[in-house]
């Protein structure tokens, strides 16, 4: 399936989809050294976002979270790309300063956990 969204930060990326139905807080919610989601009760708690195409509705929490994405990138633990239904400031700024492709305004519930996803600019392709 091919979906066209809105480009927040362009580029080419591919990886396995890691899908959450919950908001993600990068500051405090993700371990900046390992990329593992540590927020208690999160549906991805204990899973690593490193190298994944991370799919979630929208970001939340402290604006310092943008720097967490940057730190993950420097540590080689950043997601390959991010897909949101509605991107907000923290994720957008984090993706731009870390150069992580990011697309939003998509029906993210069509993307299933574990499928291979390819992103190019505003276009998202996956099996399904």
């Amino acid at each position: 399936m091919k979906l066209i969204g809105r480009k927040i930060y362009g580029g080419l990326a591919a990886g396995e989809a890691l899908v959450s139905s919950m908001g993600v807080s990068f500051y405090g919610g993700v371990d900046p050294e390992t990329g593992v989601i540590v927020e208690k009760g999160h549906d991805l708690e204990g899973r690593s976002i490193a190298g994944k195409v991370l799919v979630f509705p929208t970001g939340k929490g402290s604006t310092v979270g943008s720097y967490t994405l940057y730190r993950l990138k420097k540590a080689g633990k950043a997601p390959a790309a991010i897909i949101n239904s509605q991107c907000e400031t923290i994720t957008a700024v984090g993706c731009i300063i870390s150069e992580i492709p990011c697309v939003d305004s998509l029906p993210i519930d069509r993307i299933l956990n574990g499928v291979h996803v390819r992103i190019e600019e505003d276009t998202v392709e996956f099996a399904g």
């Binding site: 900046p32 940057y70 400031t89 731009i96």
Partner: protein, 399 residues
Amino acid sequence: MKLTPDEQDILEGKHGRAAAKSMQILFALGTIYGAEHMVPVSSVQIAGVSYDNLGDAGLEFLAEMADGGGKTRVLATLNPAGMDVENWQALGISPTFAEKQALVMQAFQRMGVVTACSCTPYLFGNLPHFGEHIAWAESSAVCFANSVLGARTNREGGPSALASALTGRTPAYGYHLPQERRPTLAVQVRSSLSGTLDFGALGVAIGRRLEERRRPPIPYITGVEQASLEELKSFCASLATFGGSALFHIQGITPEASLYSPPEDAWVVTGDDLKAAAASLNEAGPAEVDFVSLGCPHLSLDEIARLASLLEGRRVSKTFWITTSRLVKHLADRMGYTALIEASGAIFAVDTCCVVAPIKGRFTGLATDSAKACYYAASKNKFKTRFLPFEQVVEEALQ
């Protein structure tokens, strides 16, 4: 989103890497929030200064922006750092932290950001006028600038505020647009208010009832007869912390209130509501308090004068931090207030505050007159808190 030729040049890198990255950030935010164009800004306040919050990643980003030729185009000041820049040893800050914090300050300074580290830039010359477009981070200062001064800013984060400083632009959406500044909720206060604690409690009482939305409702508050500068700064800090608010109007007090009539739906805040709000932050017993702090937001000169008269000839028995900006501290020195305060054993923690300094694990209980300080003491540092009026906070330090 339409850019002017100059803005397009910046985006394409003709003014250097840092400016291009900045314009990318602003362009993306404008796209997300539906801005049609950029507006020039005349003033910036940057958050994300304490190394305790930034970490190595933030430091690396700032250094990269400075290396990339970033230079401020407008007046830009900084939020509190993680330490007193000139006197960090007295606060028990480690040399390693001090070294990293100094690198953060250097990166900002290289870009031309004025390294006056304070959450109250409006007390020393970063003072936008009515209707002026600005790009401020620091939630309490955002609330103050929008509501009390009538300037126009969204709630920026550290990187987006820096991006505005390095380009002189911000995307025109949200609180920059007159139609987005209309009150959406009336709040009737049925209690007399006096002092920073009462106004802080009002911020808690209203803030907790504002639903968590991307754009919280804009309260139009009636029933507040007067409010001092210090009371308003306390209210701004509290409402922004507990309600995520960036703008409110108070009838008869804030400049835009007279443009509107109160919305029909009204909440009532009673004296009991204020007592309950204050009590909810008052969970430490007197014996559990080992840390006392005044100055969240940073103290005004008037508050320091008051503190000096309360402490004159007395000795504090607990760690007592007085947090303020460097410029206000200079005047306190000149007026002799500093000498009186320091003779009591209280410590000036200039450029920093109890929210952003690396003090986790050092104390058990904090006494303060600031609802915002209570919130972060509990959530970030796991301290118990005692939320008391200004004079009683001083008494707590003396016991």
